[in-house]
Structures are given as C-alpha cells and as structure tokens.
Symmetry: C2
Subunit: 318 residues, 2 copies
Amino acid sequence: MDLVAGIDIGGTKTKLGLVDRDGRCMVQSFFRTKEYPDFDEFLDKIQESINALIAESGEVNLLGLGIGAPNASNARGTIEHAPNLAWKGIVPLLEPLKQRIDVPMKVTNDANAAALGEMLFGNAKGMKDFVVITLGTGLGSGIVSNGQMIYGHDGFAGELGHFAMLPEDGRLTGLDVRGGLEAYVSATGLKRTVLYMMSKYMEPSRFRSIAFDDLHGEEITEAAEAGDPIAVRAFEYTGKILGIALANFTTFSQPEAFFLVGGLANCGDWIFDPATRYMEENLLQVYKGKVKILPSGIAEKNAAVSGAAALIWSDLQA
Amino acid sequence: MDLVAGIDIGGTKTKLGLVDRDGRCMVQSFFRTKEYPDFDEFLDKIQESINALIAESGEVNLLGLGIGAPNASNARGTIEHAPNLAWKGIVPLLEPLKQRIDVPMKVTNDANAAALGEMLFGNAKGMKDFVVITLGTGLGSGIVSNGQMIYGHDGFAGELGHFAMLPEDGRLTGLDVRGGLEAYVSATGLKRTVLYMMSKYMEPSRFRSIAFDDLHGEEITEAAEAGDPIAVRAFEYTGKILGIALANFTTFSQPEAFFLVGGLANCGDWIFDPATRYMEENLLQVYKGKVKILPSGIAEKNAAVSGAAALIWSDLQA
C-alpha cells in the first residue's frame, strides 16, 4: 500500500503516522520529545518508530516523509532557534535523517503543514487563496496564495502571531513583540484577558478564586456557557482582536477564507461569532461579504500528522 | 517590431505607450482622463491614441495591451467603485475595449503593474519574493511571492495603504480606516505630519507661514535639507511608521526586498534611512539582516506605462 510518513515535532510530544492519499492516518504513535535531548538519539528514535509503524501496517510502499516542526526552514531542511525545543541554534534535520531513511523528505513549520493538510484533505479543498490560523499555546499561520504555500524568501513567512496589532500600548509576546497578536489570540492570551477583565470590571466570576497558573482554557468556555460575565467578556475581546486582525490581513492576500484550527477554535461560537462580526465590520468595502471564517475539516487528533504527510502527497498529486 | 501597448489610467491623466521586450517605452502620449466622463468616448479615445502611436512608430506587431488602473479587478476585467474616477459602480473595461482593439489584454491595479514592471525590467529582476510600495497621493502595494503576483481570491489583494497600523487612536484614511498606513505614509500623510509636528513642538519652521492647501511635498524635502526642524521631525516620524509597518508585513510573506516607488520615494535618504532603521529594529530575530528596502530600477517617467505592458510581456516570456 502506498503511504507517506507524517511527523509532527512538538515541544512536548513527537507524533508519527502513516497516511494514505486521502489523508487517512492508518497507524500512528508518539513519544516524548524531551526524553531525547541528544539530537542523534532523537533521530534514531524517529527511525525506530517509523520502522515499527511499517511493521505494524504490513505491506507498505513508503513514498516519502513529511515533517512539521517549529521554526523549520523548508529551504534549508533545518530547525532554527526554536524556543520550545531542547536543541539550540541551527539544527540540520533532513540531511542526517535522510541517511537513516532514504525516501523523499520535506520539512516546514507546523502551521504551514496544517494549511497543506487542509488544502489536500480538509475544508480548503479546491481553494487557491486561504490562510490557516493555528490556535494553541501561541498562534501560528500558514498562507496559501495562487494555490501555493507562501514560504517567503528564507522559509519563514507566515509568523502572524508576532504581527503587532497594538504597537503603542500592547502586551508583549514571548518574542517581545509589543501588541503582538498571539499575546491576545491564543490559549495564553485568553487567560491573560480573563485577568484583564477582572482588573477592569468588579463583576463576580468563578475565576476570582483561581490562580493564573491553575487556569485552563476549557474552563473559560464552560464558564461562558454558564453565563460567567468575565468569561463572556474575555471571549468577546479575544474575538474582537482576532476579527480586526483578519480584516487587516485581508488587505495583504485577500483570502477566500481563514481557517481557525486547534485549541481556541474548539471554543466554537464563542470565538467564531465575535471574530466574524468584527472582521466583517472592519473589512474594506471591496472585501465585505467575500471572506469566510471556517473550522478545520480534519479530525484534530490527526491534523498535525496528516498535514505533515501532505507536504509529500501534494508533490505526488501535482 | 514586436511591441506591447501599456496604458496607465489615472485620476488626472491617462498615459499610453508602446513598450519593447526590454521595457523600453518607444513612443508615448497622454490625455486628460476627466475630459471623457462618458466611458464609451473614453474607450474611443484610447483606441484613437493607440492607433496614433502605432502610426508614429512605423512597422509595429502589436502583441497585446496591458492596463494599470485604480480598483481594477484582474479576474473580471473591470474597474470597480474607483473613488478618483468619474465612472461610477462596476465598469466593464476589457470586454468593450477588445471589441475596438483585438489583441490579448489584461488589467490590474497600478501598484500590481508597478510590481510586474520591477520584476521584468527593474531592480526586482531574478527575485521571487518582494513587495512594491507606491507612494503617491495615497499608498499602493503589489506583492509577489514564489515569483507570482498575489491577486487574491477576487483580485483585490495588496491594499496595504488601508492596513490599520494604529487602530486605537489613529488618523482616518480616505476610506475611513482608523490608523490606516496611507494616512501617514504618502504625500498627504507627510503634509498631515508637518501639521502634527507644528502642533506638538513650538520650534520655528518655514511651514508656520504656509497653509496646508499650499504645501507641496518637494518643499518638505528642501526644508529638511536646509535643517528645518519640523521637516526633519516629519520625515523621521513618517519613516518610523513605514519601517514598523514593513517589519510587520515581513511576518506575512517574508519578502527579500521592499521597493519604494514614486512620490515620497524621491525624498531619498530622508525616507529610506529612518524606514530602514525602524524596520530593522522591529524585525523578528529570524528576519534580521535579511530584508532590504530598495529604490525602483525603472525611470519614473515610464514606470506606470512599462509596468502595464509587463502584464502582457510577463506572459510572453514565461
């Protein structure tokens, strides 16, 4: 059976799977990234895991291997200065991995992989111009124009989490960008906004008895559903900042749709509603009614792995 | 001789020329756009002007006709709701023009035409990822990624003049965008900043005796050269806003270079210096030292016409 290996390297887990041409993940596994601070041992572990998956699947014709990783350069096949990974500096990834597994290989950052996955297997099928926004601890983005991934001159296009929306008096992101989008629109951003709303309004809230470090994103959705005024305000504010940002991003590449994927996107209408409302309100006349905000069409469990595999499948199906 | 007609439709003048494969404008002419409020008569005038240019040039093999126009949709061949033109609503352009001159035709907005011209004939030769910023009365932009023009889903990508840089307390653009870039970075924006600086500082300036309506961009450069502190501050501020904007835009498509073209770009170091300084200071670590701000490589006199012709030449040379 023709399959492509997809690997998602995250700060916590590295997920692997074998993916068919329709994006179905036939077998998968994972291991804890932090258990392999030595990069050579990490590569050995990947090789071993892929071999185990192949053995598990029976007859496999491995067509290639796609990798999604933070701070990956697709042009150089490296991971560069990734703040959440143990390997420091510029780490060559594809070259040493190819010596272990000799198949066509590609790497890109996780949000670009998600965008390719959405185009090949998900809700962006047939679209030529769209943007995927991944909402996790931070905010990532993958941009497709003219049916092609936008990698940029050096492989680092699509860092919209660090776009300065409120440069004058804004929050700092983890990379010290004043007013950067991900300081507002992300799991962490939503938690910061809960604090901000409690500082601004004296309304009662279940969060007055919970410390920041003990606060989890899902609880904020639950609280909003139960009518907690601080949680409701926090979602409205987060959606507003996101909606205004998407209206602004439209002036760049005029996408047909923005896809919200992962984490915060699972809060459903609490985030989609205000985002859509504020985007529409802030769009230039020429764009009004022409831009959609949509959910992912890929089961979240497999999205990162099948997105990584799409790096190879998109070449094979071209 | 193989030539392509280039037409630049502006609010004041419509310029026409015949352009060879190296971007040289062999003959050119213009007429006043406002003298043709009837669109059919305007099209007749274009036909007549092209025929006159062909007669003037001797033996011409007309390979096609490219048009740059404000608010043009390349997908539909129309001009749509252009605020500075007399023809209102959605105006079909290519279809009726093709009935008069039967050659391959394309239309796009003037900034996109400038970007194509720069790629084919100017300083962006060989570049695959760059952005052209046109600085006139307003601010236009043309974005190229992967060697292709980014038109967007509906033909209106690249409206960066209406990107809201300072959404909380900013100036309004002509399209009512709060804090929109062109309210700061454009001939009009620079004039507004001269007033702002005179409101903020009591330093002497030649501009204290000149009314806003009598103020011209070139005078601000002259004043800065002569050490006028208000003019110097106005350029520093304009370059700062532009530099921060370009640093932010880099998170989108990571271009190799931004080209500043026309109007304000002719102020030279007064605008390039602060823009470069503030861009570099505000770039994410991963982009630092990798993005250039460059002048156009096309003589300004012919830039719009040869850019329009590049719409056709880029297809023929592909």
